[in-house]
């Protein structure tokens, strides 16, 4: 309508696409600040100590830096096919890296940078957006009922009731699933070949795979775990209380450094 171009490469890197990204980012910042302030006000009403709030803020920042860089690398991964702004927007609102890569691969089936048209690009943008909305829609319509009917019954109860232990058990299950995931990759790990930010598909419409079985994730998992224990020892024995806030981030960094060192040694 306003854009007299048929060149998709101009569209995906257009200045107004960056502007859209900026506006979406501004919305997310406003929302987070608003809810952050509401949380802070609630903390004051509950007379929670300042130290608790400070601890929450510092640990959350230090924890979030590394995974956020990982997410940003996701933007770069998809940038080959889709340009920078669209992946930036998609990973800022509702998106998650593994969902978005899957969405791009399904929506862009068979399309490469060279063959992509403007229509393809708009179709991909719609598909990525609409299909990722389910979690949000479910939360919008059913979360309140779910909380009233199920959650409140589970969380009320005495100190050692099973309800309190239930969530620890769920989280232990979740961590174990990722332990299993890292362990499974020792035996088999077919990865889809990615070229220009999307998966490669063969003549029969199947993904092109390569087996990259590896010990690295389980080594990373265990070394991050051990380092966490080592820092725990430092915090308790050497009384380095401040270290608590950075314990998780440093342990992750340790695990990730091990992965890099193994890579330098030729082990991927």
């Amino acid at each position: 309508m306003f854009l007299a171009t048929n060149d998709v490469s101009l569209l995906k890197e257009a200045w107004w696409m960056y502007l859209l990204g900026g506006l979406v980012t501004a919305f997310i910042i406003l929302g987070s600040v608003y809810f952050g302030i509401k949380g802070y006000q609630q903390a004051k009403e509950l007379k929670m100590p300042q130290a608790t709030i400070k601890k929450t803020v510092i640990s959350s920042i230090s924890f979030s830096v590394l995974p956020s860089i990982g997410i940003f690398i996701g933007v770069i991964t998809m940038a080959g096919l889709l340009g920078i702004p669209l992946p930036w927007i998609r990973l800022s609102v509702v998106g998650a890296l593994h969902y978005e890569l899957m969405a791009v691969s399904v929506a862009s089936e068979g399309i490469t940078v060279a063959t992509m048209t403007m229509e393809n690009f708009v179709t991909i943008a719609f598909a990525m957006t609409i299909s990722i909305m389910w979690g949000g829609l479910f939360a919008l319509f059913f979360f309140k009922k779910y909380q009233a009917k199920v959650l409140n019954k589970v969380t009320s109860g005495n100190e050692r009731s099973f309800g309190k232990l239930l969530f620890d058990a769920v989280f232990i299950g979740m961590i174990s699933a990722y332990l299993g995931d890292a362990f499974a990759k020792i035996f088999r790990y077919d990865t889809k070949v990615v070229v220009d930010g999307s998966y490669v598909i063969d003549g029969q419409g199947n993904y092109v795979l390569e087996d990259n079985r590896t010990f690295v994730p389980i080594i990373v998992f265990l070394s991050a775990m051990l380092f966490m224990g080592f820092l725990d020892l430092l915090i308790k024995k050497a009384k380095l209380k401040w270290l608590e806030n950075f314990q998780l981030a440093l342990s992750m960094l340790f695990g990730m450094t091990i992965a890099v060192l193994l890579g330098i040694g030729g082990i991927y």
Binding site: F2, T25, I28, G31, Y34, F35, K38, T52, T56, S60, V65, P67, I69, G70, I71, F72, I73, V75, W88, S92, V93, V94, A96, L97, V106, A107, T123, S131, M133, F142, F143, Y146, L165, D168, A169, F171, G173, M174, I175, S176, A177, L179, G180, D181, A182, A184, I186, F187, R188, V216, I218, V220, L222, S223, A224, L226, M228, L248, V260, I264
Partner: protein, 221 residues
Amino acid sequence: MKKILSVNDLMHRRGRIFMVIGLSVMLMVPILIWLISGVGPDGGKLALAILGLSLLFLPGGIIEVITYAPFLGTGATYLAFITGNLVNLKIPCVMNARELTKTEIGTPENEVVALISVAVSTLTTVSIMTVGVILLIPLRPVLEAPILQPAFNWVVSALFGALGYKYYLRNPKFAIAPIFFSLLLGFLAPAFVYGNVLIVVVIMAVVSVLFAKLIYDRKWV
């Protein structure tokens, strides 16, 4: 007569309003791309892609709300479901903050800690993404350096390994069954495990809860 809303009801109301605005903002992006470029989507292809992806993402979306909402509390659930990246960022971030501040799930204090944690985590992510986009030209070769790729390939393993230390140590008996079954499943059906981590999370959560219930009822903890 005006109904007086509880703190929790008020948070649901705010969260729902935010969710509606958030989903609208999200949807406006492709609509604006359509309007500005003058080129619409291919209806047939779009319907097929949405159908295919929804088969994958609809159960995932429901499971995520059911599984993660208890950890997040009211306000943080809405905020986290709009800002995304739950399993690889928001949930572990909240669990870490909860651990450090020693708050109990389901208490008003935990609600506050989770809400502030998700808000701060989101601000950190958008700041890094924005700075990254601005600095993309000088940063790209560094972040894409092959030597650093293993670090970011396995960031999730590092994250759950580090978290595992605290949770396994706190309830070592609870951990026996989920660790055993996850390793067994990883050995017997590796492709299923790494290809369907979200489903495996649910399976292991069920195994873990059933086992925990068993040893709790027998007073082994």
